[in-house]
Amino acid sequence: MTTKAKFRFDASAIFLPGIGVLLLLLLWAITSSTLSKNLPSPAKTWEVSKPFVTAPFEKRGELDQGVARFAWYSLILVAKGYAIALLLGAPLGFILGWSKLFSKSFDPIIQVLRPVSPLAWLPLGLVLFEKSHPAALFTIAICAMWPTVLNTALGVRSIPQDYLNVARVLQLSPAKTFFKVLLPAALPYMFTGFRLSLGIAWLVIVAVEMLTGTPGIGGFLWQEYNSLIYEHIILCILTIGIVGFVLDRLMSAVEHRLKAA
């Protein structure tokens, strides 16, 4: 009984998404042959993209590299910007969650800065740093850090009073209170923030690369649009989506382990 149920579950987990993909391909094929003649068909897209996918790490020239190689450039840039976002965001969130005074003073500013688009931050970054690489990092960091800030603050505010009482009754030193009580109690919330921040960092990278012309998956997308190779736009969109999906899955796997512990 259980094995049968398990088998059926596995089958539907493969078949149903497969049917979804097929339907989308069909819709795409119909649209490209009827409504929008500029949209390359699935077959054409595959044909033109093939060298980029089958040799994903190939470097044939500065603007002619495999998708995985471009994605790798983007990931490195995201990793740097994301690291800055966490290094700034987590302590800021901790202070915000801990101090009512600080929270009251800075919460309105955060609420105003949070919805600002990466497209708006980038020119400011260019003005501040005068070079595209640090400006890109600045933009990724400042856009991606807000979920970390807010979730860390929420995590700190949600630390049960009981745990704080234990720390006080045992007279734990400030360092021990932080590492043994506060940090572990807030960590699951923080990780939710980390995951959302990574998602945003990956969203921002494309816009940043387009505007700065940095080599990467977003830069490639923009360059291929300018070269009228529309098939590669679709290739880039799919690559960006898949990488983003994998990143999110990895983070939520870590998050689940943390919450289970």
Binding site: D162, N165, V166, V169, L170, Q171, L172, K180, P184, A185
Partner: protein, 289 residues
Amino acid sequence: MADVTNAAFLELSGVCKGYGKGDARSEVLADIDLSVARGELVCIVGYSGAGKTTLVSLMAGLSAPDRGTITLAGKPVKGPSAERGVVFQNYSLLPWLTAFENVYLAVDQRFASWPKARKREHAEKHLALVNLAAARDKRPSELSGGMRQRVALARALAADPEVLLMDEPLSALDALTRATLQDEIARIWEQSKKTVVLITNDVDEALLLADRIIPLSVGPAATFGPAVAVPIPRPRDRKAMNHDARFKAVRNEVIEYLLGPGRRRGAADRAAAPVALANASDSDTVVAA
């Protein structure tokens, strides 16, 4: 300090505590006087919501009284300290640490100068004392309620406090586990001869454990009734409780206060207060306790 043995060790005098301000203020505890001798086990028995938890947090130093003084061995209590160990009602174990690590955290802080091996041994010893040596590497989520409370007890004892404050330590447990743990608390107290203040809503629990039972009247503005000594030799037999005349006499005395003056006092206060205020303070008291 040797001459304090028979004098008051933990002493509360004229302690009052309330929450809120102005018209919304409600007195939780009023005119609390308590004097506990060194090595004595005192049980405070009272209604739920009467401010028992507030009383523990005052004695623990987690909050300060509005009026009155609390002293331990003549020194005023100014904040939490390792000399006053607390066993919380809801265990308050850190869920990301194992049973051993929870106990070790207290040992590591209290006896920071000890070598590591000695600290570990000390923590192990106290886990064994509460019969939990086998569960040392389990996290609280893998332990039953009774086992969690044992870990909490081991953690408090391992810090070697002068006074052990227990806030309804067994009230969240089922009757059988409760009985077992009552026996263990009695056994551990016999061995350690610590000064213990145990707060409970169970008169029979107090009968089994206490040297002295102090009833706490109903809130708001709860206060102590006359203390009742329990002159019954240990170990006490729970099976004898229902027919032994000595048990019956003490139980009657406590219950008579709780159902008589202890309840009327609160009722009288309430009748004197405006209705809205009485309702507000009712809910406040429940939140506070």
